[in-house]
Protein backbone atom coordinates (compact mmCIF):
# COMPACT_ATOMS: atom_id res chain seq x y z
CA UNK A 1 0.00 0.00 0.00
CA UNK A 2 2.65 2.46 1.08
CA UNK A 3 4.68 1.60 -2.00
CA UNK A 4 1.71 2.08 -4.28
CA UNK A 5 1.02 5.45 -2.68
CA UNK A 6 4.53 6.77 -3.01
CA UNK A 7 4.57 5.47 -6.56
CA UNK A 8 1.31 7.26 -7.28
CA UNK A 9 2.68 10.50 -5.88
CA UNK A 10 5.90 10.10 -7.80
CA UNK A 11 3.97 9.36 -10.95
CA UNK A 12 1.92 12.50 -10.59
CA UNK A 13 5.10 14.54 -10.34
CA UNK A 14 6.52 13.18 -13.61
CA UNK A 15 5.19 14.94 -16.69
CA UNK A 16 3.31 12.23 -18.59
CA UNK A 17 5.22 12.54 -21.80
CA UNK A 18 7.37 9.44 -21.81
CA UNK A 19 5.36 7.12 -19.62
CA UNK A 20 1.83 7.41 -20.80
CA UNK A 21 -0.07 8.21 -17.59
CA UNK A 22 -0.43 4.53 -16.77
CA UNK A 23 -1.49 3.60 -13.25
CA UNK A 24 0.52 0.40 -13.59
CA UNK A 25 3.77 0.54 -11.64
CA UNK A 26 7.18 -0.79 -12.53
CA UNK A 27 7.99 1.12 -15.69
CA UNK A 28 11.30 2.43 -14.35
CA UNK A 29 12.34 -0.95 -13.00
CA UNK A 30 11.40 -3.11 -15.99
CA UNK A 31 12.42 -0.58 -18.66
CA UNK A 32 15.76 -0.05 -16.97
CA UNK A 33 16.36 -3.77 -16.52
CA UNK A 34 15.43 -4.50 -20.14
CA UNK A 35 17.69 -1.81 -21.59
CA UNK A 36 20.63 -2.66 -19.32
CA UNK A 37 20.39 -6.36 -20.04
CA UNK A 38 19.97 -5.80 -23.78
CA UNK A 39 22.96 -3.45 -23.80
CA UNK A 40 25.18 -5.85 -21.84
CA UNK A 41 24.33 -9.09 -23.60
CA UNK A 42 23.55 -8.04 -27.17
CA UNK A 43 24.49 -4.48 -28.06
CA UNK A 44 27.86 -4.15 -26.30
CA UNK A 45 29.26 -7.42 -27.73
CA UNK A 46 28.00 -6.62 -31.23
CA UNK A 47 29.46 -3.13 -30.77
CA UNK A 48 32.83 -4.74 -30.03
CA UNK A 49 32.61 -6.48 -33.41
CA UNK A 50 31.85 -3.27 -35.25
CA UNK A 51 34.60 -1.45 -33.35
CA UNK A 52 37.10 -4.14 -34.29
CA UNK A 53 36.03 -3.83 -37.92
CA UNK A 54 36.64 -0.06 -37.75
CA UNK A 55 40.25 -0.71 -36.78
CA UNK A 56 40.76 -2.16 -40.26
CA UNK A 57 41.34 0.12 -43.22
CA UNK A 58 38.81 -0.28 -46.03
CA UNK A 59 41.56 -1.76 -48.23
CA UNK A 60 42.37 -4.38 -45.62
CA UNK A 61 38.70 -5.12 -45.15
CA UNK A 62 38.09 -5.63 -48.86
CA UNK A 63 41.28 -7.61 -49.30
CA UNK A 64 40.05 -10.13 -46.72
CA UNK A 65 36.62 -10.40 -48.31
CA UNK A 66 37.98 -10.62 -51.84
CA UNK A 67 40.36 -13.47 -51.04
CA UNK A 68 39.23 -16.55 -52.97
CA UNK A 69 38.80 -18.71 -49.87
CA UNK A 70 36.50 -16.15 -48.17
CA UNK A 71 34.54 -15.52 -51.34
CA UNK A 72 34.05 -19.23 -51.94
CA UNK A 73 32.89 -19.80 -48.35
CA UNK A 74 30.41 -16.91 -48.53
CA UNK A 75 29.15 -18.01 -51.94
CA UNK A 76 28.69 -21.56 -50.69
CA UNK A 77 26.85 -20.48 -47.52
CA UNK A 78 24.52 -18.02 -49.21
CA UNK A 79 23.94 -20.11 -52.35
CA UNK A 80 23.13 -23.36 -50.60
CA UNK A 81 20.98 -21.54 -48.02
CA UNK A 82 18.90 -20.02 -50.82
CA UNK A 83 18.50 -23.42 -52.47
CA UNK A 84 17.59 -25.10 -49.16
CA UNK A 85 15.03 -22.38 -48.37
CA UNK A 86 13.51 -22.77 -51.85
CA UNK A 87 13.21 -26.55 -51.47
CA UNK A 88 11.69 -26.01 -48.02
CA UNK A 89 9.23 -23.50 -49.48
CA UNK A 90 7.83 -26.17 -51.79
CA UNK A 91 7.81 -29.09 -49.38
CA UNK A 92 6.95 -26.97 -46.35
CA UNK A 93 3.89 -25.68 -48.20
CA UNK A 94 2.82 -29.22 -49.08
CA UNK A 95 3.34 -30.39 -45.48
CA UNK A 96 1.43 -27.42 -44.04
CA UNK A 97 -1.36 -27.99 -46.57
CA UNK A 98 -1.64 -31.68 -45.77
CA UNK A 99 -1.58 -31.05 -42.00
CA UNK A 100 -4.32 -28.40 -42.20
CA UNK A 101 -6.61 -29.73 -44.91
CA UNK A 102 -6.49 -33.52 -44.85
CA UNK A 103 -7.08 -36.23 -42.29
CA UNK A 104 -4.87 -39.27 -42.14
CA UNK A 105 -3.67 -41.64 -39.45
CA UNK A 106 -0.65 -40.33 -37.56
CA UNK A 107 -1.37 -36.73 -38.47
CA UNK A 108 -0.85 -35.40 -34.93
CA UNK A 109 2.47 -37.19 -34.66
CA UNK A 110 3.58 -35.85 -38.04
CA UNK A 111 2.58 -32.37 -36.89
CA UNK A 112 4.61 -32.67 -33.68
CA UNK A 113 7.62 -34.13 -35.53
CA UNK A 114 7.91 -31.01 -37.69
CA UNK A 115 9.33 -29.21 -34.64
CA UNK A 116 12.18 -31.71 -34.15
CA UNK A 117 14.75 -29.54 -35.98
CA UNK A 118 13.93 -26.72 -33.53
CA UNK A 119 14.37 -28.97 -30.50
CA UNK A 120 17.14 -31.35 -31.53
CA UNK A 121 20.61 -29.94 -30.74
CA UNK A 122 22.47 -29.15 -33.95
CA UNK A 123 25.46 -31.33 -33.09
CA UNK A 124 23.16 -34.33 -32.64
CA UNK A 125 21.47 -33.66 -35.98
CA UNK A 126 24.89 -33.22 -37.56
CA UNK A 127 26.33 -36.59 -36.52
CA UNK A 128 23.03 -38.35 -37.30
CA UNK A 129 22.82 -36.94 -40.84
CA UNK A 130 26.50 -37.62 -41.41
CA UNK A 131 26.15 -41.27 -40.40
CA UNK A 132 23.06 -41.74 -42.61
CA UNK A 133 24.60 -40.25 -45.73
CA UNK A 134 28.17 -41.53 -45.33
CA UNK A 135 29.12 -44.12 -47.93
CA UNK A 136 28.52 -46.91 -45.39
CA UNK A 137 25.33 -45.34 -44.01
CA UNK A 138 21.68 -46.26 -44.52
CA UNK A 139 21.12 -43.95 -47.50
CA UNK A 140 24.71 -43.28 -48.46
CA UNK A 141 25.21 -47.05 -48.77
CA UNK A 142 22.36 -47.26 -51.28
CA UNK A 143 23.62 -44.34 -53.35
CA UNK A 144 27.32 -45.14 -53.27
CA UNK A 145 27.15 -48.06 -55.76
CA UNK A 146 25.35 -45.76 -58.22
CA UNK A 147 28.18 -43.27 -57.89
CA UNK A 148 26.28 -40.63 -55.93
CA UNK A 149 28.07 -39.18 -52.95
CA UNK A 150 26.25 -36.96 -50.46
CA UNK A 151 28.22 -36.83 -47.23
CA UNK A 152 31.35 -34.66 -47.44
CA UNK A 153 30.08 -32.92 -50.59
CA UNK A 154 27.92 -29.84 -51.18
CA UNK A 155 24.84 -32.02 -51.23
CA UNK A 156 25.46 -33.09 -47.67
CA UNK A 157 25.51 -29.44 -46.63
CA UNK A 158 22.26 -28.89 -48.53
CA UNK A 159 20.59 -31.79 -46.68
CA UNK A 160 21.61 -30.36 -43.30
CA UNK A 161 20.32 -26.90 -44.27
CA UNK A 162 16.99 -28.35 -45.43
CA UNK A 163 16.73 -30.12 -42.07
CA UNK A 164 17.24 -26.96 -39.98
CA UNK A 165 14.96 -24.78 -42.13
CA UNK A 166 11.89 -26.98 -42.60
CA UNK A 167 9.94 -26.01 -39.45
CA UNK A 168 10.19 -22.29 -40.26
CA UNK A 169 8.19 -22.75 -43.47
CA UNK A 170 5.61 -25.11 -42.02
CA UNK A 171 5.06 -23.08 -38.87
CA UNK A 172 4.63 -19.73 -40.63
CA UNK A 173 2.31 -21.06 -43.37
CA UNK A 174 0.18 -23.33 -41.15
CA UNK A 175 -1.65 -20.66 -39.06
CA UNK A 176 -2.43 -18.56 -42.14
CA UNK A 177 -3.83 -21.61 -43.90
CA UNK A 178 -6.01 -22.42 -40.88
CA UNK A 179 -7.40 -18.87 -40.86
CA UNK A 180 -8.06 -18.84 -44.61
CA UNK A 181 -11.78 -18.36 -45.13
CA UNK A 182 -13.24 -21.27 -47.14
CA UNK A 183 -15.89 -18.83 -48.45
CA UNK A 184 -13.24 -17.34 -50.73
CA UNK A 185 -12.56 -20.73 -52.28
CA UNK A 186 -16.28 -21.38 -52.62
CA UNK A 187 -16.64 -18.01 -54.35
CA UNK A 188 -13.83 -18.81 -56.77
CA UNK A 189 -15.24 -22.26 -57.48
CA UNK A 190 -18.78 -20.98 -57.98
CA UNK A 191 -17.44 -18.38 -60.40
CA UNK A 192 -16.13 -21.22 -62.47
CA UNK A 193 -12.50 -21.51 -61.46
CA UNK A 194 -11.11 -25.02 -61.60
CA UNK A 195 -9.61 -26.33 -58.39
CA UNK A 196 -6.13 -25.81 -59.81
CA UNK A 197 -6.93 -22.19 -60.71
CA UNK A 198 -8.35 -21.58 -57.23
CA UNK A 199 -5.18 -22.91 -55.65
CA UNK A 200 -2.81 -20.98 -57.90
CA UNK A 201 -4.72 -17.71 -58.11
CA UNK A 202 -6.58 -17.52 -54.80
CA UNK A 203 -4.88 -19.64 -52.16
CA UNK A 204 -1.21 -19.24 -53.05
CA UNK A 205 -1.42 -15.41 -53.34
CA UNK A 206 -3.02 -15.15 -49.91
CA UNK A 207 -0.34 -17.43 -48.49
CA UNK A 208 2.46 -15.56 -50.24
CA UNK A 209 3.45 -13.23 -47.35
CA UNK A 210 3.64 -16.24 -45.01
CA UNK A 211 5.62 -18.30 -47.52
CA UNK A 212 8.09 -15.45 -48.05
CA UNK A 213 8.41 -14.88 -44.28
CA UNK A 214 9.11 -18.57 -43.74
CA UNK A 215 11.57 -18.54 -46.65
CA UNK A 216 13.44 -15.57 -45.17
CA UNK A 217 13.51 -17.15 -41.69
CA UNK A 218 14.77 -20.47 -43.05
CA UNK A 219 17.37 -18.66 -45.17
CA UNK A 220 18.58 -16.57 -42.20
CA UNK A 221 18.90 -19.67 -40.06
CA UNK A 222 20.71 -21.64 -42.79
CA UNK A 223 23.28 -18.93 -43.55
CA UNK A 224 24.48 -18.91 -39.95
CA UNK A 225 24.10 -22.64 -39.29
CA UNK A 226 27.19 -24.38 -38.00
CA UNK A 227 26.57 -27.45 -35.82
CA UNK A 228 24.48 -29.59 -38.13
CA UNK A 229 26.63 -28.77 -41.18
CA UNK A 230 30.24 -29.31 -40.11
CA UNK A 231 29.89 -33.04 -39.52
CA UNK A 232 28.41 -33.80 -42.93
CA UNK A 233 30.41 -31.23 -44.90
CA UNK A 234 33.87 -32.25 -46.01
CA UNK A 235 35.17 -28.87 -44.75
CA UNK A 236 37.63 -28.60 -47.64
CA UNK A 237 38.75 -25.01 -48.28
CA UNK A 238 37.11 -23.50 -51.39
CA UNK A 239 34.95 -26.59 -51.86
CA UNK A 240 32.83 -27.50 -48.85
CA UNK A 241 33.86 -24.91 -46.29
CA UNK A 242 30.97 -22.76 -45.03
CA UNK A 243 31.45 -19.16 -43.87
CA UNK A 244 30.78 -19.80 -40.14
CA UNK A 245 33.43 -22.53 -40.15
CA UNK A 246 35.93 -20.19 -41.83
CA UNK A 247 35.32 -17.67 -39.01
CA UNK A 248 36.25 -20.34 -36.46
CA UNK A 249 39.31 -21.41 -38.44
CA UNK A 250 40.54 -17.79 -38.63
CA UNK A 251 39.96 -17.40 -34.88
CA UNK A 252 42.00 -20.51 -34.14
CA UNK A 253 44.79 -19.08 -36.32
CA UNK A 254 44.54 -15.86 -34.27
CA UNK A 255 43.67 -13.97 -37.48
CA UNK A 256 41.08 -11.88 -35.68
CA UNK A 257 40.85 -9.29 -38.47
CA UNK A 258 39.83 -11.97 -40.98
CA UNK A 259 37.28 -13.47 -38.60
CA UNK A 260 35.87 -10.02 -37.89
CA UNK A 261 35.50 -9.05 -41.55
CA UNK A 262 33.61 -12.25 -42.42
CA UNK A 263 31.47 -11.93 -39.29
CA UNK A 264 30.63 -8.34 -40.26
CA UNK A 265 29.31 -9.48 -43.63
CA UNK A 266 27.18 -12.11 -41.92
CA UNK A 267 25.93 -9.68 -39.28
CA UNK A 268 25.01 -7.21 -42.01
CA UNK A 269 23.09 -9.97 -43.80
CA UNK A 270 21.29 -10.74 -40.51
CA UNK A 271 20.24 -7.10 -40.15
CA UNK A 272 18.95 -6.93 -43.71
CA UNK A 273 17.06 -10.21 -43.32
CA UNK A 274 15.58 -9.10 -40.00
CA UNK A 275 14.40 -5.91 -41.67
CA UNK A 276 12.89 -7.84 -44.59
CA UNK A 277 11.19 -10.30 -42.22
CA UNK A 278 9.69 -7.43 -40.20
CA UNK A 279 8.35 -5.83 -43.38
CA UNK A 280 6.95 -9.15 -44.58
CA UNK A 281 5.21 -9.70 -41.26
CA UNK A 282 3.57 -6.29 -41.28
CA UNK A 283 2.54 -6.93 -44.89
CA UNK A 284 1.02 -10.25 -43.81
CA UNK A 285 -0.82 -8.54 -40.95
CA UNK A 286 -2.20 -5.80 -43.14
CA UNK A 287 -3.60 -8.45 -45.48
CA UNK A 288 -5.06 -10.58 -42.72
Amino acid sequence: MALAKTLAIRTAAIPPRFRNQSVIPGFGLTFGLTLTWLALIVLLPLGALVLKAYSLTPTQFWAILASPRTLNALKLSFGLSLLAAAINAVFGLIIAWVLVRYDFPGKRIADALVDIPFALPTAVAGIALSSIYASNGWIGGLLDPVGIKIAFTKWGILIALIFVGLPFLVRTVQPVLIDLDPEIEHAAASLGATRWQTILKVIVPSLLPAILTGFALAFARAVGEYGSVIFIAGNLPNMTEIAPLLIIIRLEEFRYADATAIACVMLFASFILLFIINRLQSWAESRG
Binding site: M1, L7, R19, I24, A110, A119, T122, G192, G224, Y256
Partner: protein, 304 residues
Protein backbone atom coordinates in the same frame (compact mmCIF):
# COMPACT_ATOMS: atom_id res chain seq x y z
CA UNK B 1 -10.75 -8.18 -50.59
CA UNK B 2 -7.65 -8.24 -52.72
CA UNK B 3 -7.78 -11.99 -52.48
CA UNK B 4 -11.31 -12.14 -53.83
CA UNK B 5 -10.42 -9.73 -56.61
CA UNK B 6 -7.57 -11.99 -57.60
CA UNK B 7 -9.91 -14.93 -57.63
CA UNK B 8 -12.44 -13.10 -59.78
CA UNK B 9 -9.82 -11.97 -62.20
CA UNK B 10 -8.54 -15.51 -62.65
CA UNK B 11 -8.42 -15.16 -66.41
CA UNK B 12 -8.80 -17.48 -69.39
CA UNK B 13 -12.29 -18.63 -68.45
CA UNK B 14 -14.29 -18.28 -71.62
CA UNK B 15 -17.99 -17.57 -71.25
CA UNK B 16 -18.90 -21.00 -72.38
CA UNK B 17 -16.52 -22.66 -70.03
CA UNK B 18 -17.94 -20.58 -67.20
CA UNK B 19 -21.52 -21.51 -67.92
CA UNK B 20 -20.62 -25.12 -68.13
CA UNK B 21 -18.87 -25.09 -64.78
CA UNK B 22 -21.70 -23.24 -63.14
CA UNK B 23 -24.01 -25.99 -64.25
CA UNK B 24 -21.84 -28.65 -62.70
CA UNK B 25 -21.63 -26.56 -59.57
CA UNK B 26 -25.35 -26.43 -59.04
CA UNK B 27 -25.45 -30.19 -59.02
CA UNK B 28 -23.74 -31.31 -55.84
CA UNK B 29 -20.88 -33.54 -56.79
CA UNK B 30 -20.79 -36.92 -55.23
CA UNK B 31 -18.02 -37.99 -52.93
CA UNK B 32 -16.05 -34.84 -52.39
CA UNK B 33 -16.93 -31.29 -51.47
CA UNK B 34 -16.60 -28.53 -54.05
CA UNK B 35 -13.39 -27.11 -52.63
CA UNK B 36 -11.31 -30.21 -52.24
CA UNK B 37 -8.94 -32.15 -54.44
CA UNK B 38 -9.40 -35.53 -56.13
CA UNK B 39 -8.55 -38.52 -53.98
CA UNK B 40 -5.45 -39.35 -56.02
CA UNK B 41 -4.06 -35.84 -55.53
CA UNK B 42 -4.78 -35.94 -51.82
CA UNK B 43 -3.12 -39.33 -51.45
CA UNK B 44 -0.09 -38.15 -53.42
CA UNK B 45 0.32 -34.99 -51.34
CA UNK B 46 -0.01 -36.92 -48.08
CA UNK B 47 2.58 -39.41 -49.36
CA UNK B 48 4.97 -36.58 -50.27
CA UNK B 49 4.54 -34.92 -46.87
CA UNK B 50 5.01 -38.14 -44.91
CA UNK B 51 7.93 -39.14 -47.11
CA UNK B 52 9.68 -35.80 -46.59
CA UNK B 53 9.14 -35.87 -42.82
CA UNK B 54 10.32 -39.50 -42.62
CA UNK B 55 13.43 -38.86 -44.68
CA UNK B 56 14.52 -35.61 -43.07
CA UNK B 57 13.24 -35.91 -39.51
CA UNK B 58 12.35 -39.48 -38.48
CA UNK B 59 15.37 -41.15 -40.04
CA UNK B 60 17.96 -38.97 -38.20
CA UNK B 61 16.13 -39.59 -34.91
CA UNK B 62 16.08 -43.34 -35.50
CA UNK B 63 19.76 -43.19 -36.44
CA UNK B 64 20.69 -41.52 -33.14
CA UNK B 65 18.93 -44.10 -30.96
CA UNK B 66 19.86 -47.02 -33.21
CA UNK B 67 23.58 -46.22 -33.21
CA UNK B 68 23.54 -45.41 -29.49
CA UNK B 69 22.49 -48.94 -28.55
CA UNK B 70 24.20 -50.70 -31.48
CA UNK B 71 27.18 -51.68 -29.32
CA UNK B 72 25.00 -53.08 -26.57
CA UNK B 73 23.73 -51.84 -23.24
CA UNK B 74 26.98 -52.05 -21.28
CA UNK B 75 28.83 -49.95 -23.87
CA UNK B 76 25.98 -47.44 -23.73
CA UNK B 77 26.14 -47.28 -19.96
CA UNK B 78 29.92 -46.95 -19.98
CA UNK B 79 29.71 -44.07 -22.47
CA UNK B 80 27.24 -42.01 -20.48
CA UNK B 81 28.82 -42.69 -17.09
CA UNK B 82 32.44 -41.98 -18.05
CA UNK B 83 33.87 -39.16 -15.97
CA UNK B 84 34.19 -36.84 -18.99
CA UNK B 85 30.57 -37.48 -19.97
CA UNK B 86 29.34 -36.90 -16.42
CA UNK B 87 31.24 -33.63 -16.10
CA UNK B 88 29.86 -32.55 -19.50
CA UNK B 89 26.33 -33.35 -18.33
CA UNK B 90 26.90 -31.45 -15.09
CA UNK B 91 28.23 -28.39 -16.91
CA UNK B 92 25.36 -28.45 -19.41
CA UNK B 93 22.78 -28.55 -16.62
CA UNK B 94 24.49 -25.71 -14.70
CA UNK B 95 24.80 -23.51 -17.80
CA UNK B 96 21.19 -24.14 -18.84
CA UNK B 97 19.89 -23.44 -15.32
CA UNK B 98 21.71 -20.10 -15.06
CA UNK B 99 20.76 -19.06 -18.60
CA UNK B 100 17.11 -19.95 -18.13
CA UNK B 101 16.85 -18.01 -14.84
CA UNK B 102 18.54 -14.94 -16.33
CA UNK B 103 16.36 -15.00 -19.44
CA UNK B 104 13.27 -15.61 -17.33
CA UNK B 105 13.90 -12.41 -15.37
CA UNK B 106 14.76 -10.48 -18.50
CA UNK B 107 11.81 -11.90 -20.45
CA UNK B 108 9.33 -10.88 -17.73
CA UNK B 109 10.81 -7.38 -17.43
CA UNK B 110 10.86 -6.87 -21.20
CA UNK B 111 7.33 -8.16 -21.70
CA UNK B 112 6.02 -6.02 -18.81
CA UNK B 113 7.64 -2.85 -20.10
CA UNK B 114 6.61 -3.46 -23.70
CA UNK B 115 3.01 -4.51 -23.13
CA UNK B 116 1.96 -2.36 -20.15
CA UNK B 117 3.39 0.98 -21.27
CA UNK B 118 3.72 3.13 -24.34
CA UNK B 119 7.00 4.77 -25.12
CA UNK B 120 8.84 5.98 -28.22
CA UNK B 121 11.14 3.46 -29.87
CA UNK B 122 9.18 0.39 -28.81
CA UNK B 123 9.40 -1.27 -32.23
CA UNK B 124 13.17 -0.76 -32.29
CA UNK B 125 13.41 -2.38 -28.85
CA UNK B 126 11.41 -5.41 -30.02
CA UNK B 127 13.61 -5.71 -33.11
CA UNK B 128 16.76 -5.68 -30.97
CA UNK B 129 15.30 -8.37 -28.70
CA UNK B 130 14.71 -10.51 -31.82
CA UNK B 131 18.19 -9.88 -33.20
CA UNK B 132 19.94 -12.90 -31.62
CA UNK B 133 17.51 -15.17 -33.52
CA UNK B 134 19.02 -14.17 -36.83
CA UNK B 135 22.68 -13.85 -35.79
CA UNK B 136 24.83 -16.88 -36.53
CA UNK B 137 25.82 -18.74 -33.33
CA UNK B 138 29.43 -18.55 -34.49
CA UNK B 139 29.22 -14.74 -34.73
CA UNK B 140 27.63 -14.74 -31.26
CA UNK B 141 30.64 -16.62 -29.90
CA UNK B 142 33.09 -14.43 -31.81
CA UNK B 143 31.79 -11.16 -30.33
CA UNK B 144 32.57 -12.42 -26.82
CA UNK B 145 36.08 -13.43 -27.91
CA UNK B 146 36.60 -9.93 -29.33
CA UNK B 147 35.34 -8.44 -26.06
CA UNK B 148 36.98 -10.67 -23.46
CA UNK B 149 39.82 -12.44 -25.31
CA UNK B 150 43.50 -11.72 -24.65
CA UNK B 151 43.52 -9.42 -27.71
CA UNK B 152 40.04 -8.15 -26.93
CA UNK B 153 38.79 -4.79 -25.67
CA UNK B 154 38.50 -5.85 -22.02
CA UNK B 155 41.08 -8.67 -22.18
CA UNK B 156 44.06 -6.87 -20.61
CA UNK B 157 41.93 -5.40 -17.80
CA UNK B 158 40.44 -8.83 -17.03
CA UNK B 159 43.81 -10.56 -16.88
CA UNK B 160 45.17 -7.77 -14.62
CA UNK B 161 42.33 -8.45 -12.23
CA UNK B 162 42.58 -12.20 -12.59
CA UNK B 163 39.04 -12.60 -13.87
CA UNK B 164 38.49 -15.49 -16.25
CA UNK B 165 35.52 -15.20 -18.61
CA UNK B 166 36.64 -16.83 -21.83
CA UNK B 167 37.34 -20.59 -21.76
CA UNK B 168 35.46 -20.73 -18.45
CA UNK B 169 31.92 -20.92 -17.11
CA UNK B 170 31.06 -17.17 -17.41
CA UNK B 171 31.89 -17.13 -21.13
CA UNK B 172 29.82 -20.24 -21.82
CA UNK B 173 26.89 -18.75 -19.90
CA UNK B 174 27.19 -15.40 -21.73
CA UNK B 175 27.21 -17.08 -25.15
CA UNK B 176 24.25 -19.27 -24.18
CA UNK B 177 22.28 -16.31 -22.81
CA UNK B 178 22.94 -14.45 -26.07
CA UNK B 179 21.53 -17.18 -28.31
CA UNK B 180 18.53 -17.86 -26.04
CA UNK B 181 17.91 -14.15 -25.42
CA UNK B 182 14.51 -13.76 -27.19
CA UNK B 183 12.87 -17.04 -26.15
CA UNK B 184 10.92 -16.07 -23.02
CA UNK B 185 10.13 -12.50 -24.07
CA UNK B 186 8.86 -13.68 -27.47
CA UNK B 187 6.31 -16.04 -25.90
CA UNK B 188 5.07 -13.49 -23.36
CA UNK B 189 4.75 -10.32 -25.46
CA UNK B 190 1.89 -11.40 -27.80
CA UNK B 191 -0.12 -12.96 -24.95
CA UNK B 192 0.27 -10.00 -22.58
CA UNK B 193 -0.53 -7.64 -25.42
CA UNK B 194 -3.77 -9.50 -26.00
CA UNK B 195 -4.68 -9.54 -22.31
CA UNK B 196 -4.29 -5.78 -21.97
CA UNK B 197 -4.03 -3.92 -18.68
CA UNK B 198 -7.62 -3.93 -17.38
CA UNK B 199 -7.14 -6.70 -14.80
CA UNK B 200 -3.98 -5.14 -13.40
CA UNK B 201 -5.67 -1.74 -13.22
CA UNK B 202 -8.59 -3.27 -11.33
CA UNK B 203 -6.25 -4.92 -8.82
CA UNK B 204 -4.29 -1.71 -8.32
CA UNK B 205 -7.42 0.38 -7.86
CA UNK B 206 -8.55 -2.09 -5.19
CA UNK B 207 -5.36 -1.34 -3.35
CA UNK B 208 -3.04 -4.19 -4.31
CA UNK B 209 0.65 -3.37 -4.40
CA UNK B 210 2.58 -3.59 -7.64
CA UNK B 211 4.21 -6.87 -6.70
CA UNK B 212 0.95 -8.36 -5.40
CA UNK B 213 -0.68 -7.39 -8.69
CA UNK B 214 2.08 -9.09 -10.64
CA UNK B 215 2.13 -12.29 -8.60
CA UNK B 216 -1.63 -12.69 -8.11
CA UNK B 217 -3.09 -11.26 -11.31
CA UNK B 218 -0.52 -11.22 -14.12
CA UNK B 219 1.45 -14.35 -13.33
CA UNK B 220 -1.57 -16.73 -13.19
CA UNK B 221 -2.64 -15.34 -16.57
CA UNK B 222 0.68 -15.94 -18.26
CA UNK B 223 1.98 -19.02 -16.44
CA UNK B 224 1.55 -21.47 -19.32
CA UNK B 225 3.11 -19.16 -21.88
CA UNK B 226 5.94 -18.53 -19.42
CA UNK B 227 6.51 -22.26 -18.99
CA UNK B 228 6.44 -22.66 -22.78
CA UNK B 229 9.13 -20.02 -23.20
CA UNK B 230 11.24 -21.57 -20.44
CA UNK B 231 10.92 -24.99 -22.05
CA UNK B 232 12.14 -23.80 -25.46
CA UNK B 233 14.85 -21.68 -23.84
CA UNK B 234 16.09 -24.69 -21.87
CA UNK B 235 16.14 -26.98 -24.92
CA UNK B 236 18.19 -24.48 -26.89
CA UNK B 237 20.50 -23.71 -23.94
CA UNK B 238 21.33 -27.40 -23.39
CA UNK B 239 21.88 -28.05 -27.08
CA UNK B 240 23.75 -24.91 -28.11
CA UNK B 241 26.86 -25.81 -30.03
CA UNK B 242 28.26 -23.11 -32.33
CA UNK B 243 28.44 -20.19 -29.90
CA UNK B 244 29.64 -22.32 -26.99
CA UNK B 245 32.20 -24.04 -29.18
CA UNK B 246 33.88 -20.68 -29.89
CA UNK B 247 34.12 -19.51 -26.26
CA UNK B 248 34.65 -22.76 -24.36
CA UNK B 249 38.18 -23.76 -25.34
CA UNK B 250 37.16 -27.43 -25.31
CA UNK B 251 38.92 -28.32 -22.07
CA UNK B 252 37.96 -31.90 -21.28
CA UNK B 253 36.28 -32.42 -17.97
CA UNK B 254 36.18 -28.65 -17.41
CA UNK B 255 34.61 -26.57 -20.16
CA UNK B 256 33.06 -29.28 -22.30
CA UNK B 257 29.30 -29.21 -22.54
CA UNK B 258 27.39 -32.24 -23.84
CA UNK B 259 27.31 -31.09 -27.50
CA UNK B 260 31.06 -30.35 -27.40
CA UNK B 261 31.72 -33.73 -25.80
CA UNK B 262 29.77 -35.37 -28.64
CA UNK B 263 31.90 -33.53 -31.19
CA UNK B 264 35.14 -34.69 -29.59
CA UNK B 265 34.00 -38.33 -29.36
CA UNK B 266 32.80 -38.26 -32.96
CA UNK B 267 36.04 -36.77 -34.26
CA UNK B 268 37.94 -39.49 -32.36
CA UNK B 269 35.86 -42.10 -34.21
CA UNK B 270 34.19 -43.22 -30.96
CA UNK B 271 30.87 -43.27 -32.79
CA UNK B 272 29.07 -45.51 -30.30
CA UNK B 273 29.96 -43.27 -27.37
CA UNK B 274 29.15 -40.10 -29.37
CA UNK B 275 25.69 -41.41 -30.21
CA UNK B 276 25.13 -42.61 -26.64
CA UNK B 277 25.62 -39.07 -25.31
CA UNK B 278 23.68 -37.69 -28.29
CA UNK B 279 20.76 -39.98 -27.45
CA UNK B 280 20.41 -38.20 -24.08
CA UNK B 281 20.05 -34.86 -25.88
CA UNK B 282 17.67 -36.42 -28.43
CA UNK B 283 15.59 -37.71 -25.54
CA UNK B 284 15.55 -34.21 -24.08
CA UNK B 285 14.30 -32.92 -27.45
CA UNK B 286 11.51 -35.52 -27.54
CA UNK B 287 10.43 -34.78 -23.96
CA UNK B 288 10.49 -31.05 -24.78
CA UNK B 289 8.24 -31.66 -27.79
CA UNK B 290 5.74 -33.74 -25.81
CA UNK B 291 5.54 -31.09 -23.05
CA UNK B 292 5.29 -28.37 -25.69
CA UNK B 293 2.36 -30.12 -27.37
CA UNK B 294 0.59 -30.49 -24.02
CA UNK B 295 1.20 -26.82 -23.19
CA UNK B 296 -0.09 -25.74 -26.59
CA UNK B 297 -3.36 -27.49 -25.85
CA UNK B 298 -3.56 -25.71 -22.49
CA UNK B 299 -2.82 -22.36 -24.15
CA UNK B 300 -5.46 -22.93 -26.82
CA UNK B 301 -8.06 -23.76 -24.20
CA UNK B 302 -7.17 -20.57 -22.33
CA UNK B 303 -7.42 -18.17 -25.22
CA UNK B 304 -10.93 -18.06 -26.66
Amino acid sequence: MAVIDAGMRSGNLSGENLRERRVTNTIPERGRPLISEPLAVRAALIAIAIGFISLFIVLPLVAVFGQAIAKGYSAYQAAITSSDALSAIRLTVIVAAISVILNLIFGLAAAWTITKFDFPGKTVLITFIDLPFSVSPVVAGLVFVLLFGAQGLLGPWLSDHNIKILFALPGIVLATVFVTFPFVARELIPLMQEQGTAEEEAALSLGASGFATFFRVTLPNIKWALLYGVLLCNARAMGEFGAVSVVSGHIRGQTNTMPLHIEILYNEYQFGAAFAVASLLALLALVTLVLKTLLERKLERKTP
